[in-house]
Symmetry: C2
Subunit: 188 residues, 2 copies
C-alpha cells in the first residue's frame, strides 16, 4: 500500500506533482513558515546551520567566510511561537517505505525533545515517508524509543500514532493545522 486510506486521490496527484517539481520537505516547511509569518499566524524560523568559522576575509568591504567547519551540534531545525506556545521541531525524510530508521535522529536531539516537553513546550517530528507527511508528537517518539529496542519505527505505527499533514494550495503543507489538532484543540 503506497498511501494510507485517508489520503484522497486529489491529494495524491498533488503530492506527486509537487515531488516532480523538486519541492523537498525543507522547501515546503519554509514556504509554510513564510505564509504563517506574512499572515501573522505563527513566528517560526529555521535555525541556521551552526558553522565554526575559522577564517574570514573581506570582499568589497563585506566579510566573507573562507574556512568554516560543520562540526557543531545542532538541536532541531525549526523553532518558534504559535498561540503563545514554544514550538521546536525537526523535519526528516526517509525513502524507506516500511519504516523510519531511528539513526535519522541523534541522541542529543532526543534529549532536546524531552527537555522541551518537560519545560512546557511543543516538540515533534515532521516525517516524510511513503509519499505522506506526518506530524509525530515528541512524547510518542520518546515513548516508542523507551519501550522498544527496534532501530526503526514501523510505517504503520507512524500512520496510527501520527497526524497526517494534508496538502493544500497555500501553504502547500499547512502543518500548523496538525499542531492545532494534536496539541491545542483538545485541552487548550
Amino acid at each position: 500500500m503506497l498511501y494510507p486510506n485517508n489520503i484522497k486521490k486529489k491529494q495524491i496527484s498533488k503530492n506527486i506533482s509537487y515531488g516532480n517539481r523538486g519541492m523537498d520537505l525543507e522547501y515546503l516547511i519554509n514556504e509554510a513558515n513564510n505564509y504563517y509569518l506574512a499572515n501573522d499566524i505563527a513566528i517560526i524560523y529555521k535555525r541556521p546551520t551552526p558553522i565554526q568559522i575559522n577564517k574570514v576575509s573581506f570582499k568589497n568591504g563585506k566579510p566573507e567566510v573562507i574556512k568554516g567547519l560543520f562540526n557543531q551540534k545542532s538541536t532541531l531545525d525549526y523553532v518558534g511561537i504559535y498561540k503563545g506556545k514554544y514550538i521546536d521541531f525537526d523535519a526528516k525524510k526517509t525513502l524507506n517505505k516500511t519504516s523510519f530508521p531511528l539513526d535519522n535522529i541523534h541522541d542529543h536531539q532526543i534529549k532536546h525533545i524531552k527537555n522541551v516537553i518537560n519545560h512546557g513546550g511543543i516538540s515533534f517530528l515532521i516525517i516524510e515517508i511513503n509519499n505522506g507527511i506526518y506530524l509525530l508528537p515528541g512524547n510518542i517518539l520518546i515513548d516508542f524509543i523507551s519501550r522498544n529496542f527496534r532501530k526503526s519505527i514501523p510505517y504503520n505505527y507512524i500512520v496510527e500514532n501520527g497526524t497526517l499533514i494534508e496538502f493544500g494550495y497555500s501553504p502547500i503543507i499547512d502543518y500548523i493545522q496538525a499542531v492545532d489538532s494534536v496539541y491545542l484543540k483538545k485541552g487548550e
Copy 2:
C-alpha cells in the same frame, strides 16, 4: 556617575575583574545558558549566525565551508523556553556612557520583537552600558521608539525602566532572575 546607585561596591569590583579577564557579554550569556541547561532551569540557545554557503569542500571526509557570505538577515540572537514561556532576545553592548544608540538595532529586529510580544512571547534586550547590564523589556523599547524621534535611548531611561542584572558567581550574570521579576512574578 559611572554606576547606578543600586550596584554594590562588591559587584563593581567583580564586574571590573570580569571585564579585565576579557569576558564579553556574549560569553556571559552563553555561560548562563549552559548553567540553565545543565540545571534544568531553562533551554536557551544562541541562534547560529546565518551564513549563505557558496562552496563546500571535503577534508578527511568531512565537509568544510570554503566560501560563505554573512548576507542573510537574522532575527535576535537568543531563543528558548523558560517556565513554559517562549523567550527571544538580543544582547547589545555600547561604549557610549550617556545613551544607547538605536542604530544598534535593525528595523527587522524591532518588527520581530513586536511580533513575538503580539504572539504571547517574551522579548527583550540585554544592554551593557556604563559597566552595568540591564534587561530592557521589548514593550518599553517599542514604546520609546514610537514616542520619540531620538536616535538613542538615554542611559537614565534604561536605568529607570530596565532591570539591573546583578553579578554573581555561577552563573556570572543570572539574567533569568531579571526575566522572572519583570515577566513572571507579577501576574503569572
